[in-house]
């Protein structure tokens, strides 16, 4: 995935690896914590060391498999705030857990046979207990801890065992917190996704309604009109042509309405129109130079300027074959100069310029010149009485 990968994807990798690495490091950390006595044991009985190492690998794989199952399954439904711990319960990975248990079993057998002092068995037991407790509801772990505490109090339990239980409890809590955090992030991510989809669905509904309003009426008219055309044509009635053309006109108007409906989503600003004009003309192989920028145009004239650019750009594309276009934006107006204009006579007023001039009205003054293939469209804003 790219750098824009969804947050959950990233967070899952983080959770997976932090939990897996923590599980794998646990026997190592315990041995380091115990220190010299544990080192001596490993030195004297390398077999026990190998068994412990094997168990570390097995419990690491058990965690990895379980976390993958956990991520693949849909998150458990929540039943109130006290239900959160259940989300941190790991499913699966039972086979590797059994392998881990086998290692503890072998270590027990070796200890009973007089190999080693049982110190490494304690480590192995903690590792197994942590892996196992991650897979059962938290009340069981809490209950187990209370039981161990009570036993230690009445003196049945050795301090060694009490300390081991405490270490186990802390390790389980640390691992679970990681998984809980993962679960929360996952739910947030899903909620966001659902919200986005909901927004899309609402928008689609709104759009469908608008679309139906616009097209439904026109389509019915077209259906009736064309039916009429067919009837008239069968009788050789000359009115068929007229009705046929009317139907075509209604269809075109309807399409134009749909387009403006789609376009209604946005209102282009001058900077966008400027970029758009330049990019369109460049794609037609013209070199485009822009002098000034959108900010130079006074705010109240930007709408006019945007419209003039759009019209002017469109006209250049349709009526000329330019190699170079210069667009100038200034506080006084907008100017478009292009080469490759056909003809050399004064610009005929009928060519859309009249329409442009009418639309500009009092706002601005339009002049157009053509000189040896160079066409200049100049729009000056009416700046009289403007406070600067």
């Amino acid at each position: 995935m790219s750098a824009q990968a969804r947050q959950w994807t990233i967070f899952y990798v983080y959770t997976l690896w932090s939990v897996v690495v923590m599980t794998a490091m646990m026997p190592v950390m315990l041995v380091l914590m115990i220190g010299a006595p544990a080192f001596d044991q490993i030195r004297e009985h390398p077999l026990l060391g190998v068994l412990l190492l094997g168990q570390a690998v097995a419990s690491m794989l058990a965690t990895r498999t379980a976390l993958r199952c956990w991520a693949a399954a849909p998150p458990a439904p929540m039943r109130g705030p006290w239900d959160l711990p259940r989300l941190g319960m790991l499913p699966g990975g039972w086979r590797w857990l059994a392998a881990s248990a086998l290692a503890t079993l072998l270590l027990t057998a070796a200890t009973l046979a007089g190999l080693g002092s049982g110190l490494l068995l304690l480590v192995s037991g903690i590792v197994l207990a942590v892996s196992a407790l991650l897979r059962v509801p938290w009340r069981w772990s809490a209950g187990g801890l209370v039981a161990v505490g009570l036993l230690a109090l009445v003196g049945i339990m050795t301090p060694d065992l009490a300390v081991s239980s405490f270490v186990t409890f802390v390790a389980v809590l640390a691992l679970r917190s990681s998984i809980w955090l993962g679960a929360v992030v996952r739910e947030l991510d899903q909620a966001r996704e659902a919200q986005a989809q909901l927004a899309v669905a609402e928008e689609r509904l709104r759009f469908a309604r608008d679309l139906h309003d616009v097209t439904g009426r026109d389509l019915s008219v077209i259906a009736v009109k064309t039916e009429l055309v067919a009837q008239l044509a069968e009788r050789g009635d000359p009115r068929a042509a007229e009705h046929g053309r009317e139907a075509a006109q209604i269809a075109r108007t309807s399409l134009a309405e749909i387009r403006s409906l789609v376009r209604g989503y946005r209102e282009a600003d001058l900077a966008t129109e400027l970029q758009g004009t330049a990019s369109l003309l460049r794609s037609a192989h013209a070199e485009v130079t822009i002098e000034g920028d959108a900010e130079d145009v006074p705010a109240r004239h930007r709408g006019t300027a945007a419209w003039a650019l759009r019209e002017g750009g469109t006209n250049i594309l349709r009526h000329a074959d330019p190699t170079a276009v210069v667009i100038t934006l200034s506080p006084q107006g907008v100017r478009l100069v292009n080469d490759g204009a056909p003809g050399d006579d004064p610009v005929p007023e009928g060519s859309g310029l009249t329409g442009m001039r009418e639309r500009l009205g009092e706002d601005a003054e339009l002049t157009a010149r053509r000189d040896r293939g160079r066409f200049t469209l100049d729009i000056r804003f009416d700046t009289t009485g403007e406070t600067r």
């Binding site: 824009q4 689609r204 037609a284």
Partner: protein, 212 residues
């Protein structure tokens, strides 16, 4: 219909039509052949058929639909330009996306019109294009300008548009006739370009800007 000019001295302008929508294609063919100076040589419905037809007939003008079942009309124009360099292309489209007009202009296509163009205007556009003049719909050009400079490639815009209704990737892949992996690639590059967190947001941004 219109008062068609008399056939030019070199004979009628030879035209082919490529469109997969049979109803529209036959209607256009009928309307164009009613003009005295235009002759419809043949019709095709896919890029492959269109390429073959253009190679066989070397027409003056090829009127090509933008959306074809086995590719887009601009690919066909490219192939026609290679096979029959004298043929000029006129692209017809039912819904235009800014990227396509720019791509068409960049590869030298002279005509780009919506399918709603009236018979009279279409005939006039065919004559302009045959004479080497541009025939671009002003509405489409204005829309392209208003949409600014889209960072999306036409393919990315396509895929994003298919994703805009919240469809899952498999469905987008089916609609766009692409592999799921390819769709994912297009979506993630579009997301990166638009700096969106997910494809829904990317589609919303692109729609607001008019890029899809």
């Amino acid at each position: 219909m219109t008062t068609a000019p008399a056939p030019p001295p070199g004979g009628a302008l030879r035209v082919i039509l490529v469109d997969d929508e049979h109803l529209i294609r036959s209607a256009l063919a009928t309307m164009l052949s009613l003009e005295a100076d235009l002759e419809v040589l043949g019709e095709a419905s896919t890029v492959a058929e269109g390429t073959r037809l253009a190679g066989e007939t070397s027409p003056d003008v090829a009127v090509v639909d933008l959306q074809l079942p086995d590719g887009d009309g601009l690919e066909l124009c490219e192939q026609i330009a290679e096979l029959s360099p004298d043929t000029r292309c006129l692209v017809l489209t039912s819904h235009a996306r800014p990227g396509y007009l720019k791509r068409a202009l960049a590869q030298g296509v002279l005509g780009f019109l919506p399918k709603t163009t009236s018979a009279e205007q279409l005939a006039r556009a065919v004559r302009s294009v045959a004479a080497g003049r541009r025939a671009i719909d002003p509405e489409l050009a204005a829309e392209t300008i208003s949409s600014g400079d889209s960072p999306l490639t036409p393919r990315e815009a396509d895929v994003l548009e298919y994703a805009a209704d919240g469809a899952p990737v498999e469905q987008i892949a089916r609609r766009a006739h692409l592999a799921e992996g390819t769709v994912r690639n297009y979506l993630s590059s579009a997301q990166a370009k638009l700096q969106a967190a997910n494809r829904h947001e990317a589609a919303a941004i692109a729609r607001r800007q008019g890029w899809i």
